[in-house]
Symmetry: C2
Subunit: 109 residues, 2 copies
């Protein structure tokens, strides 16, 4: 399970894919396959979770990694490429590499 907290020296990737609603399910399948055959086995991978927008137009991957070096090493693995190449045919990809700056809990009243 993904846990988001501060003061945790990890790297967060929030990658937003924009897609036609009729291709959203296929995009979820492709990103799931890419993760299952490759990413989960990579050194430095902590966790990820895949989100589908309720309007059908986006799929967003929230992923935690130990370091940028390990993330880049994973990207040289050819196994997920067929899935990712098909994904990029049906989706626009907007990557982002982040650190967590603040977390908020409900106020206790």
């Amino acid at each position: 399970m993904t846990q988001i907290s501060m003061n945790n020296p990890i790297l967060t990737f929030i990658n937003v894919f924009t897609v036609e609603p009729e291709n959203q399910n296929r995009l979820v399948e492709l990103l799931t396959s890419a993760t299952d055959v490759s990413v989960r086995y990579a050194k430095g991978f902590i966790s990820s979770s895949l989100h589908r927008s309720l309007d059908g137009t986006k799929v967003t991957m929230y992923a935690q990694w130990r370091s940028e070096e390990e993330y880049n090493a994973m990207r040289s693995d050819p196994k997920p490429l067929p899935y990712l190449q098909e994904a990029l045919k049906i989706a626009k990809f907007e990557p982002g590499m982040y650190e967590v700056v603040r977390t908020f809990e409900p106020a206790v009243e």
Copy 2:
């Protein structure tokens, strides 16, 4: 602390703000203030976390809510408006309302 899991009947908002790097810190302050004065007190708010991109060009809020109705009710609160209006002067806002479809753990080898 935010926990991302499947089969949890919650709503996830992943809101990406694009900003000039010189305004990124100010945007983090504004979104923090909006959350501290209002969002944290709203019925249905579960958790949120604020992320800054390492290249300086994005700030992304990952937020969990119990329902769309409660999220919309919060948006009628005028208290955070001064912060949000200033935020929208310096940033482009790309909202997204999601459900979690898959979570991935490292493979045990």
